[in-house]
């Protein structure tokens, strides 16, 4: 499945390559039902920051919300991914809670993201 993801990324990369994608600011995203995975991502290309990303993957089973929570823990990285494979084949919703610690200002900020589809935001998936 990982190879399929990379192949899809390469195809899409050829269609919408943007050399400046994600270089100017931190952005946060969730994606659901990506034919084999769900995820929440925090990223900025070329910069290492303290991130912690939590992702809720929810699937209704007979009207009962089932699923799991992912927690990356706090880590210094350019790309914090709460990613889970072997799911996301339809009917899932993803809610991400993204934390960023600004070690210059000494400040934490949070952003919530939601998704029920696998929209492509060019940039993070091709790195």
């Amino acid at each position: 499945m990982r190879y399929l993801k990379r192949l899809a990324a390469l195809v899409l990369l050829s269609l919408c390559l943007n050399a400046e994608a994600g270089v100017a600011a931190i952005t946060y995203h969730s994606r659901a039902n990506c034919a084999g995975f769900n995820e929440s991502i925090s990223w900025r290309l070329g910069y290492s920051y303290w991130f912690q990303t939590l992702s809720q993957h929810i699937h209704n089973v007979n009207g009962v919300p089932m699923g799991h929570l992912l927690d990356t823990g706090m880590a210094q990285t350019w790309r914090s991914a709460a990613y889970h494979a072997t799911e996301g084949y339809g009917g899932w919703s993803v809610i991400g809670t993204h934390y960023f610690f600004n070690d210059s200002l000494k400040q934490w900020t949070s952003v919530v993201t939601r998704a029920t589809d696998c929209s492509i935001y060019d940039g993070w998936w091709d790195h």
Partner: protein, 249 residues
Amino acid sequence: MLKNILFNALLFSPLLSNASDSIDATGTQAMKQLIQDQGLPPPDSGIVIKPESQFPNFELIKESIERDNASVKKYGYIKRKSPEVQSLLNFKKGEKKFSPKNLTATADTGLYRSINDIQMAYRYYGVPASAMTNELAVAPAGTYLQGQGWTGAAQTFEKAGLGICNYNEMNAKLNHGSVLVARENVSYDINGKVTQKYAKGEESEGFIYGVGWYDDTIYHELECVQTAFSPETMQAVVNLAVVIDNNAH
């Protein structure tokens, strides 16, 4: 280390503990409990001020915070290299590839020529034209809300006397955001709002001057770079932040 909570043999567990619980815009009760247990600021909790020692994951950042505090006491700034310094000082070098105007298509996180080229989910306030010498680029920030647009954006611009600056504005309401700031680093310099500021860098590479200020709706951050350190530059950046904030009403 990625942790998978509520993992069981079937991978999935009920996410609500009883029928009266619900999944709202920010998620499940289980997630809210996890956030609370870790001391992280909950979504939609606004501006929270705490001592640094009560920050989440404090054991991971304690050494860095103590080193920075000692550095500020000795030099007046955080003596530490910052990739943002070179990035902004060299922003005008090399050709930039700008994304085309994109008001309806799937989000693109690249650089744009103008805020008017980005689909925004709210009326972006930004830096007034009268407060900059030359706008260089704009980029989306925050997250993209389907059918609405971006919840934030960053403007890179030149300001005579201050050099290259970057202003980042995020809509806290649309982000269901929160901000947790260190009590030790709080002032009210920007129109009486909770404000934080810093200078960081090294003499060999230059300095970045940053100001963050917050209200119920917008979280703002302004950064400018200079080759030398001076308290007067810090004050000039604060003065520019006041002008930007006056425009956000």
